[in-house]
């Protein structure tokens, strides 16, 4: 960080005070409390009993919790890996070919980012319904044997939720990569061309290395979004059928307010926070090393 301009000013504390007060009371203090609560067995009503690290050990030992974190990993594939591959292809096309309607396309693919997740969930529930348009489409293709109630299916409910993630993250990743690609100097491409590189080699030799930082940012954002899937699961499946779509965020809510296991809920919340911090710092360091 560069040295700040201006002379020392005590008055700075007065400017910081209001923001810091709200922030400390409603964010810093609660996270401290979350750590404290996570060390107890507490139902939210009576006195809690000291549990030490049991609630954290349960995350590794408890079958249901292990499953929830495993489901989060599956969602990461859909939220991060899928959009990254698709986004790279789309951005490369948009950047390379001077297509008309670029503005319109960007508006459209980014639109899912701004729609309330509850609305997104209502829409996709409709698409996945037994009499929904996905089954209608399969029927029209003569694939009646594949039709099912997608969100009620033990095997397909989680991938179905994942596809929704792919749907709303692809636009963000595409626009992010496009911004990165538009900054690549044309001289690099001309040099590659002189070396006789085709479109594919050009992509791997010039485009991909140039957008390393953007890829890091895209992965960070989408992985965190995958780990924080709550609204979508709450509205579409409530973690069902069985526990096939339970995810950590939903478990926090479900355990605290459904099962009365507040200590366990707090432990999952704290773990989630730590995982998110580690991912953010890790990927950022990787990106920084690249840039410097």
């Amino acid at each position: 960080m560069a040295a700040p301009p201006g002379e020392p000013r005590r008055v700075a504390y007065l400017y910081l005070l209001p923001a810091f007060a709200v922030y400390a009371v409603f964010l810093l203090y609660p996270i401290g409390r979350a750590v404290q609560i996570s060390l107890y067995d507490w139902d939210g009503l009576s006195l809690g009993t000291w549990a030490g690290l049991d609630n954290y050990l349960a995350i590794v030992a408890d079958e249901g919790l292990r499953a929830a974190f495993a489901h989060a990993l599956v969602l990461i594939l859909f939220y991060a890996a899928g959009p990254l591959v698709i986004g790279l292809a789309l951005a490369a096309i948009l950047n390379h070919a001077k297509v008309r309607g670029l503005g319109f396309f960007r508006t459209v693919v980014f639109l899912p980012q701004v729609i309330a997740m509850v609305v997104v969930a209502v829409a996709w529930r409709r698409v996945y319904a037994p009499d929904g348009s996905l089954n209608t489409l399969l029927g029209a293709l003569g694939l009646d044997s594949l039709t099912r109630g997608w969100l009620g299916d033990y095997t397909f409910a989680l991938p179905a939720v994942g596809v929704v993630g792919t749907w709303f993250e692809t636009g963000l990743v595409t626009v992010l990569l496009l911004a990165g690609m538009s900054r690549i100097p044309t001289s690099l491409y001309e040099a590659a061309r002189l070396d006789g590189a085709g479109a594919v080699r050009e992509f791997f030799a010039v485009t991909l290395p140039s957008v390393r930082a953007e890829i890091a940012v895209a992965v960070t954002l989408t992985v965190i979004a995958a780990l924080r899937t709550f609204d979508l699961v709450y509205v579409t499946t409530r973690g069902g059928p069985g526990e096939s779509t339970s995810v950590p965020s939903y478990e926090v809510y479900h355990r605290a307010f459904g099962l009365g296991e507040v200590g366990s809920a707090a432990a999952i919340g704290v773990t989630l926070t730590v995982v998110i911090f580690v991912i953010s710092f890790g990927i950022n360091r990787f990106a920084d090393r690249r840039i410097s």
Binding site: A19, Y23, P30, A34, I93, H96, R126, L227
Partner: protein, 266 residues
């Protein structure tokens, strides 16, 4: 440069993706404007019915009050704290800034549970404050980071000149720096508005009475209760999504800039 075949292929790929991105939105819109579940009315009458049966009028009023409060308070507080971090030197500056940075990554899931129980013991659950203040805290973390970046890059010479003229730091902020900060403030405003309007978990946990339900929460409950068709649910969804979408269509650049840059460390 590009052959016609390649160009055609590109258009096909892009069209397929535009269709994929729009499809669920089209599903909702066409259902909302289509014939009513009970037969009879159609089109815009569905919105009136949803407004009536789903009580979306009340939900929208709550959402509007919550969003305006969170936006105004967190933008003003962020401007002040960003100004301090961006233009002044003081002890503990880095430490305090890193503390704020932690809040950007803090998932609301982790803090909402302890907040619920602490606010419950204070008797503040199910109040306007229990929905808004946690969201102000979350927004101020990002807002401080955002405004600091702006003030760091702002023109130092004007500030120094104003200071030599004897202007107070308060006047320098509001009369010298802020007029030029409009784009940064607009971006912050639309982002905080969008996040607050679309927030689901905090209202879900903090609200029990129906009069305090926000629009997304109302829609989720409406979906749970209303099972006699999809038309009104679709109309309700359109009502919930529209305010942010309108903002987005007019201020698209700000949305994109904020969401892309907000994540990139300076």
């Amino acid at each position: 440069m590009i052959s016609r075949g390649e160009r055609l292929a590109n258009y096909v790929i892009l069209s397929v993706f535009a269709a994929f991105a729009l499809y669920p939105i089209v599903v909702i819109l066409s259902a909302a404007l289509g014939p009513a579940d009970s037969g009879g009315t159609a089109g815009l009458a569905n919105f009136a019915a949803a407004w009536e049966i789903g009580r979306f009028g009340s939900y929208l009023r709550t959402s509007l009050a919550v969003s305006v409060f969170v936006v105004v308070v967190s933008v003003v507080l962020s401007i002040m704290s960003g100004y301090a971090f961006g233009t002044m030197r003081f002890r503990g500056r880095s430490l305090l800034f890193y503390l704020f940075m932690l809040g950007i990554m803090m998932p609301s899931e982790a803090v909402a549970v302890p907040l619920y129980f602490d606010l419950r013991s204070l008797g503040l659950i199910d109040t306007f404050w229990s929905i808004t203040l946690p969201q102000v805290a979350l927004s101020v973390a990002f807002g401080t980071f955002w405004m600091r970046a702006y003030f760091l890059a702002a023109n130092r010479a004007i500030v120094e000149a104003a200071r030599i003229d004897g202007a107070s730091s308060w006047r320098i902020l509001w009369q010298v720096l802020l007029p030029a900060a409009r784009p940064a403030v607009v971006t912050l405003t639309v982002l905080v508005f969008m996040w607050t309007w679309n927030e689901f978990l905090i209202p879900l946990i903090m609200v029990t009475s129906e009069s305090l339900r926000t629009a997304p929460l109302g829609l989720a409950f409406f979906q749970g209760q209303y099972t006699s068709g999809f038309t009104l649910l679709a109309a309700g969804s359109v009502i919930v999504a529209t305010p942010v979408v309108i903002f987005y269509l007019f201020l698209q650049r700000h949305f994109v800039r904020g969401l892309l840059q907000g994540a990139v460390r300076e």
